[in-house]
Structure formats: C-alpha cells, structure tokens
Amino acid sequence: MTTPLLEVRNLRVEFPTRRGKLVALDDISFDIAPGEILGVVGESGAGKSLTGAAIIGLLDPPGHVAAGEIRFDGRRIDNLPYEEMRKVRGRQIGAVFQDPLTSLNPLYTVGRQLVETIRTHLPVSADEARRRAIKLLQETGIPAAEARIDQYPHQFSGGMRQRVVIALALAAEPKLIVADEPTTALDVSIQAQIISLLRRLCKEHGAAVMLVTHDMGVIAETCDRVAVMYAGRIAEIGPVHDVIHAPAHPYTVGLMGSIPAMDEDRERLLQIDGAMPRLTAIPAGCAFNPRCPKVFDRCRVERPDLLPAGATRAACWLHAPSLREAA
C-alpha cells in the first residue's frame, strides 16, 4: 500500500466554554491516499465540517486540537505556527466551501483573486499568472474565460461562482482539496455539473479530495471511500459500495433507509426515532445507543472503537470478536 497523503490519528477537538469543555470531535482517525476521494457524511452537528476545518487549520477559536495529530505528506501540520500553516493552505491543501458568494471577495475581479492566489504560492510573473488563471477558468467550463476574468463575482451565477471557487482551490496545484458541502447551495441540475467537474479536475490534476456533504447520493456518485460521522465520532468507514449496500453500523442502516429511493416504492420510510444528542449531553457508552434498535448492555457502558465488520470498519459492539464467536 502506498503511504497515505493525509493521516489523521486520534484527533480530538475541544471548545472550552464557561460550563466546561465541549468535545466536538473525539478520536477521529482516517487516511486519504494520493488521488483518492474520501467522502465524509453525517447529519448537521455530527462534526463533519469541523473535521475539514481542523485539517486546513481554520478552526474558529476557542476551538482547538486538544489531542491526536494530523500528518500531511509525512509532515505534522496540526501544530504549525499560523504563518507556516498559511503556506500549506492553498499551496498544499485547497479548500472549497459551501457558499460561493461568501468565499469570493465581492470587491475584486475574479481574475485578480486568481492571480493573487497563484502568485502567493508559485514563483511566476504577473502575465504568466494571468495566463494560468484563464486556463483554469476554461478548464472549469466557464465560457468566454478571457472576457469573464475581468468581471466581479456578482456578475456570475451561483453555479459559475462555484466553478470560480474550484478554479481558486486548484490554482496552486494542491495535492489535497477539502470540499465542504460544495453543492448544497446549488440547484440539482447545477449540482450534477459541479460534482462531475470536481471529480474530473481532481483526477486530471492528481489531487485527492475530502468531500464533506450530507447528501448520500453525492457520496455514492463521487467517492472511493466514505466515513459516516455521528456525534463527533466516526461511526463507520469503508469503501463506498460496501457502506451503501451492506452497512455494518445500525446508524448507517437507519441513515440509508431514511433516504427516499428513486427505484423502489415504500409506504413508510425507515425511521430512526429521536435526534442526534447535543454535544453537552452525549450519552455514556456508544453515543447512538438511545436510538439504536439493536442496543444491548455493553453499548450503554463501554464506548466501541472502530472494529472490522465485513469490508468496512464500524464502531459498534455488534462486531466485537467475542460476540461474533458466541453467535
């Protein structure tokens, strides 16, 4: 196996508050191989965006990495000083955020923002940077790129803006792109265009992607592997096909069952009762145990780590070796 591009080990993110510290992410471990697309899926508040923010070093204070480490290309990046991290961000790790309007500066032309990004990270002349910027815009499918490069973000539609943001993320040829809900603000027909664009460009540029989304359909279409998050932890991680067709964690089973399908008729959707716990009240043992249909005594006391479960790994005691031998 090749060495992973990104290694996250036992990552823990805490937010100190007046009433004690909130553990927003706990014991997160995963790898991303070069060129691989890893999906991170979960419901609001599961910690998926926070995982992305921790990797690109953009945790909002007072949130901070309290334990564990993040290695990029073998080098530890979670404890880099701010200025050092700035050089990694953009150059090594690009970012695409949900709302294309807020991630572009409305006062600068698209071209100026692209040229600035390119020249910050790469030693090229202004003319060369502009040529590259036009080429990037063309690659992202913006018609008449030579003319549009001198326009302002408000002159672009939502889908076109997201193309510009992707061009910006790719400007310095990063090895990893963290895309946080890149299609959530877009209409379905545009969403499909952006997803296939992101996929194609990352393949062409050899960039790996960490795709954060709540849309299982987008994950199924795009990713090689997927991590399902619940209440600040990874519930299940494995190849996309296996997680979707043979989920091992009861939460993943419920999540998949609650999505209305396009190819089968069901009178009722599978329903997970209740809601994800607040960070202030995460239950003891497995965080999913109060909602879990298969809960047993051990789940209420002891917290499961990721255990091998078929082709995937799931944080669930149903897959504990002792239980399987007994069964």
């Binding site: 419901e43 609001s44 539609s157 889908g159 076109m160 209409d187 379905v188 027909s189 545009i190 969403q191 499909a192 265009q193 997803i195 296939s196 709540h214 849309d215 299982m216 359909g217 987008v218 199924a220 279409e221 996309v240 096909h241 979707i244 067709h245 419920g254 999540l255 069952g257 609650s258 999505i259 209305p260 399908a261 396009m262 190819d263 069901r266 009178e267 009722r268 959707l269 599978l270 329903q271 997970i272 009762d273 809601a275």
Partner: protein, 344 residues
C-alpha cells in the same frame, strides 16, 4: 390523466393562473436613466387540479415559481390573471368577502424554514393555539381562564398527533430541534382541521433521518384525516415518495403534469428527463445518464418560444419561435413541440 378525469369534482382547481411582479427601478431612475418598467412573470399560465385526499407535487429549480403558486393558492398573493377554485368556489372573491375566515380555516400552509416560521417569543401553546382562537374554535368567546385551559388541552392533543409530548406546550421554539419545530408547524396547520394543506418545501431544511420522520407523519395524517396536499419540493426522491401526481415547473410554467408512476417511469419532457438524470444515483446501478447542460435563464429576460430551448438537446427553429402549450400526449400533459411531433 386518468386520475384527473375521475367522477368526483376535484377539491382544488387552478385555471390559467398567473402572477406578475413589478421589479422596475424607482420612478426617478426610470426617468433619468430612461429605463423601461420591468416585470417578472413568476407564474405564467398554470393550470392543474387536485383530487380530494390526493397529493400533487410541484417540482422545479429555484426561481421556477413553485413557491409563488403555493402562496397564490392560500391567498397570500392575489393572482394577476386566472383563478383558483376551492371546492367549487372562486377563492379570490371569497378572500375579499365575509366568508374569508371560513375559507382560510379549510386551507393551511406549512413553510420551509421552521426557524423562521415560529415566533421565538411565544410558547408552543400560543403558537399552535392562535389559529384556534382566531377561528373561534374554542367554546368561550374571549381568552378567559377557562378558555386557556381548554386551549392547552387541545394543543396538547394536536402535539401528540404529530408525535410530540403534551408537556411541550409550555416550551419555547428554541427548546426544540429543527425536526420538532417542523412538527409544531404541522400541528399549527392542523389546528383548524383543514382539508387542504399547502406544504412549501417542508423538509428541505431538515436532515435525512429527521426528514423521514416528518414525511412519515405527513403520510400518516393524510391516511387518517383524508387530507389533500400540494407539496412543493426540489427534491425528486422526496416527491416520488409522497405524491400521487407530479407537475414539473420551469420558468413559471408547468412543462409536464403526469401521474407519479408514469412520470418517473417514462419522463417525456426533455427538462423532466434532465432533472431525473441529474439526481445522484445512490445505489450506483450504473444507469446511463446524459450530462446536464446550462443554467436556468434570468426570469427577467426569458428566452423566446419554449423557455427551455437554449438548454434543450432537441430544440429546432419552431421551439425558438413558438411557445408550446400544455397538451395531452400519451396519458400525460406535456408542453413540448418535440414530444408533440413525435421527434423524441
């Protein structure tokens, strides 16, 4: 159109409904800069009917006018043209007459954002109880002490019907999660025992597992109380789950109107096909898909002829010039020259 031509008269009938918004620059700017007046045809000649106890879903991308249709139906907007008939009476005239309150009692609306549609300073008892008071559905005349107790009991009952606890009447909206808030909205809509519910993207702000809970409740209520729904959504998978009939809208017009099974099995209009192709395939069945092209044009300046022609792979000269009418084609209503001529 088998379902529509049924024996019983439909509960809701919409004829050639249109709504135009004036988005002109201020008078001074128009004079100084010689700008013309500008209008957006948000809804442009929409007709459909909904049978009692059935669900019609309207789908389309942002700006296609589906929410405007919802607001026109419940009387939040007055139509520019056309009319809405509810149980045989014209709603526009009724809303202006003394019978307005009686009509409003029979139709209610559920909004998209449960964070914006509940007053944060009111307790749930007051939020859900307001329609009871407004429509005089409590035995006493004013909100005296006895009434308040009766109101709370009724609200508790309503909350239980949507799967919340009776004790929740004393809570404020911020004490609930998004899914629970949407249940409160549903309870409020049900307070007047309406026959017709207009649901404008009721689950778009919710997570999938919570969405499943809300959709299940809505279907259960329909079965138990015989409710009629107009369900607005941009999510085709959700529409497929809840609806009996589906209308696909594009730039203010219905381009295809068909029974659910028919529409999803045999989409005919090129735009419907495109929308269906754009949905990410969760089961990775390897279904062949044509790439979607282009974006929705600016509704201020819609294309000539068929408004979909710049994105349509089957467009020809006629499509650029002549606007297709909604016509019966093999069991569904389609507005497309290519389908009509049998080119696709």
């Amino acid at each position: 159109m088998s379902a529509m031509a049924g024996a019983a008269a439909p509960l809701v009938e919409v004829h050639d409904l249109a709504k135009t918004f004036d988005v002109s620059a201020p008078w001074l700017n128009r004079v100084v800069e010689r700008k013309p007046r500008q209008f957006v045809h948000a809804v442009d000649g929409v007709s459909f009917s909904i049978q009692r106890g059935k669900t019609l879903a309207l789908v389309g991308e942002s700006g296609c006018g589906k929410s405007t249709v919802a607001r026109l139906l419940v009387g939040l907007y007055a139509p520019t043209k056309g009319r809405v008939e509810f149980d045989g009476t014209d709603t526009a005239t009724t809303f202006r007459s003394k019978q307005a309150l009686a009509l409003r009692r029979r139709m209610q609306m559920i909004f998209q954002d449960p964070y914006a549609s509940l007053n944060p300073r009111w307790k749930v008892a007051d939020i859900v109880g307001e329609p009871l008071k407004e429509h005089g559905l409590l035995s006493g005349k004013s909100a005296t002490h006895g009434d308040k107790r009766e109101m709370k009991a009724k609200v508790a009952q309503l909350l239980q019907s949507v799967g919340l606890a009776a004790a929740d009447v004393e809570k404020f909206p911020h004490q609930f999660s998004g899914g629970q808030r949407q249940r409160i909205s549903i309870a409020r809509a049900l307070a007047t025992q309406p026959e017709f519910l207009v649901c404008d993207e009721p689950t778009s702000a919710l997570d999938v597992s919570v969405q499943a809970q809300v959709l299940n409740i809505m279907k259960d209520l329909q079965r138990k109380q015989g409710l009629t729904y107009l369900f607005i959504s941009h999510n085709l998978a959700v529409v497929r789950h809840v609806s009996d009939q589906v209308g696909v809208m594009y730039l203010g017009r219905v381009v295809e109107l068909a029974d659910k099974a028919d529409l999803f099995a045999r989409p005919r209009h090129p735009y419907t096909r495109m929308l269906l192709d754009a949905i990410p395939d969760i089961h990775m069945s390897g279904r062949a898909r044509t790439p979607v092209q282009g974006e929705v044009p600016n509704p201020l300046n819609p294309p000539s002829g068929c408004s979909f022609h710049p994105r349509c792979p089957h467009a020809n000269e006629r499509c650029k010039l002549e606007r297709p009418a909604l016509k019966m084609c093999g069991g569904a209503l389609i507005a497309c020259h290519a389908v009509e001529e049998g080119r696709i």
